[in-house]
């Protein structure tokens, strides 16, 4: 779950990470003017949206007086960026910057540990820095079980040939960021840029936080303190109509899961089981050169109607030529019930199951019964002796003549 910049900064502030003066979110021109008065100097006003490209879109404006701040706030609050209306406008003091740095903590899935990344080239995309100036990047993994000490951060930052007071200040900020990351179940905590001002102080100019969705329960207290309501989903983009319709299919019937879909632009519709199996299948389709039209979760024994409605939804999606129905071995979902639902959905959509279902590979409970149904309708199916990878390959091969 993504945080707005002002929420990220409020969280950082609780751990002693220095913020610009003011740093308050305003929801009206009058509120912005009042914050600018408190700042009593030049200010920057930033649109609070969960999307990039704010500067280019006119979502970041500068003001030298409280009156100008009010004007800027009016413009920003009326501006939609990439389809996102602003949550508010962050008003902060502006001070001359001497140098910009980057500090980030994220999760390294391969190492199964968090990794801290630092650079003395902040303010730009860190991936670009890693590619063009790898000597300006330092990183180290750390344990989530042991406390993160300032010393660990110091060792890391010293790799960038930074010393003296600058090293001390940066280390304290980096260590605090690691503590935020561990304490709040984050998948990303990033300060970019972290500015060294001309007077020697460091301040966090921009910050990003992503919280693991599964951590929301254990993080209720901080979410409440930051004003984030339990029902706020905060997806990376607004759901598409296809995804909204999928959620409606799922919500219409309490039995099992079918309808939790994510839209892609391919031509092979997927009815695939949830969890690791579906990720594996999705990757296998791609590896064979296939183009998935959607990601999907189906499982927990959905009703025939639910599987049918999901199938109809996927087949309605423009550009979908066939569907592949695949899962890992299942014990909690009946193969025959899914087979009935999918075949019914295909027929009710006006197609022949044998033409529209590229492959059916769900081994598990009641599979013999399921296979009888599939055979009856001439649908190609396979059991667990055919790997998920191979089944995905067969589905992709059928797309050639679709």
């Amino acid at each position: 779950m993504r945080f707005y910049e002002y929420e990220s900064k409020q969280l950082f502030g609780r751990y002693g990470i220095p913020l610009p003066t003011g740093s308050k979110v305003a929801h009206s021109a009058a509120e912005a003017e009042a914050v600018a008065k408190e700042i009593n100097g030049p200010a920057v006003l930033k649109s609070q949206v969960l999307t990039g490209g704010r500067m280019k879109a006119g979502g970041v404006l500068f003001a030298d007086t409280p009156g100008q701040a009010a004007e800027a706030a009016t413009k920003i609050l009326a501006l939609t960026i990439n389809g996102h209306a602003p949550r508010g406008v962050l008003v902060e003091g502006r001070a001359p910057v001497k140098q910009e740095y980057y500090i980030g903590v994220t999760w390294d899935g391969f190492a199964r540990k968090p990794v801290m990344i630092c650079s003395d080239m902040g303010g730009i995309d860190i991936e670009e820095v890693a590619e063009t100036h790898p000597e300006h990047i330092a990183k180290r993994h750390f344990s989530t079980l042991l406390p993160f000490s300032d010393y660990m951060a110091k060792e890391l930052i010293a790799q960038l040939a930074i010393g003296g007071a600058e090293l001390n200040q940066l280390s304290r900020i980096a260590a605090a960021l690691a503590r935020v990351f561990i304490a709040h179940g984050l998948t990303l905590a990033e300060i970019n840029p972290l500015a060294r001002l001309e007077d020697g102080r460091f301040v966090c100019l921009d910050g990003h936080v992503d919280m693991e969705d599964d951590a929301r329960d254990s993080q209720k207290a901080i979410l409440k303190a930051l004003g984030i309501a339990p029902e706020e989903k905060r997806q990376a983009r607004p759901p598409t109509q296809f995804e909204i319709d999928g959620a409606a299919v799922d919500a219409a019937d309490h039995r099992g899961v079918a309808g939790n879909v994510v839209e892609f632009d391919g031509d092979l519709g997927l009815v695939i089981g949830a969890g690791g199996g579906s990720l594996t299948l999705f990757d296998a389709i791609r590896k064979h050169g296939g183009r998935p039209a959607n990601y999907c979760e189906i499982g927990g024994n959905p009703s025939v109607t639910k599987a049918c409605e999901l199938t109809k939804l996927i087949l309605r999606k423009p550009g979908v030529k066939k569907i592949a129905v695949m899962m890992n071995v299942v014990s909690n979902t009946r193969v025959d019930i899914v087979a009935r639902g999918v075949i019914k959905g295909v027929i009710e959509s006006g197609h022949k199951p044998a033409d529209k279902i590229a492959i059916f590979r769900i081994p598990g409970s009641w599979e013999t019964e399921g296979f009888k149904i599939l055979q009856h309708y001439g649908v190609e199916y396979c059991d667990r002796t055919v790997s998920m990878y191979e089944a995905a390959g067969r589905a992709v091969a059928k797309m050639q003549d679709a």
Binding site: S303, V304, I337, K344, I347, K372, I373, H376
Partner: protein, 82 residues
């Protein structure tokens, strides 16, 4: 749309027996049976394909009075014979 996979038949005499109708309505997990006017049995067509083949209806009724028919494969009929 008519059911594609399952059909259920009930003896006319049983379909008029209010107590038996109540029992069938109670046992079916997917609401294939309903009580119509005057306690008569009604088959809920739109739910037929949801049949889980649990055979509870067969056990709740006298032998042979309820038949669950598969409309695919070898068109097997589930019926209690004892």
């Amino acid at each position: 749309m008519a059911a594609l996979f399952i059909n259920v038949e009930v003896d006319p005499a049983l379909a008029k027996d209010a107590a038996a109708v109540k029992k069938l309505v109670e046992v079916c997990p997917v609401n294939i049976f309903a009580e119509a006017d005057l306690g008569l049995l009604a088959i809920v067509e739109k739910n037929l394909d949801e049949c889980t083949l649990c055979e509870l209806c067969l056990q709740a009724a006298p032998a042979g009075a309820v038949r669950v028919k598969k409309l695919y494969g070898d068109r097997e009929v589930l019926v209690r014979t004892d």
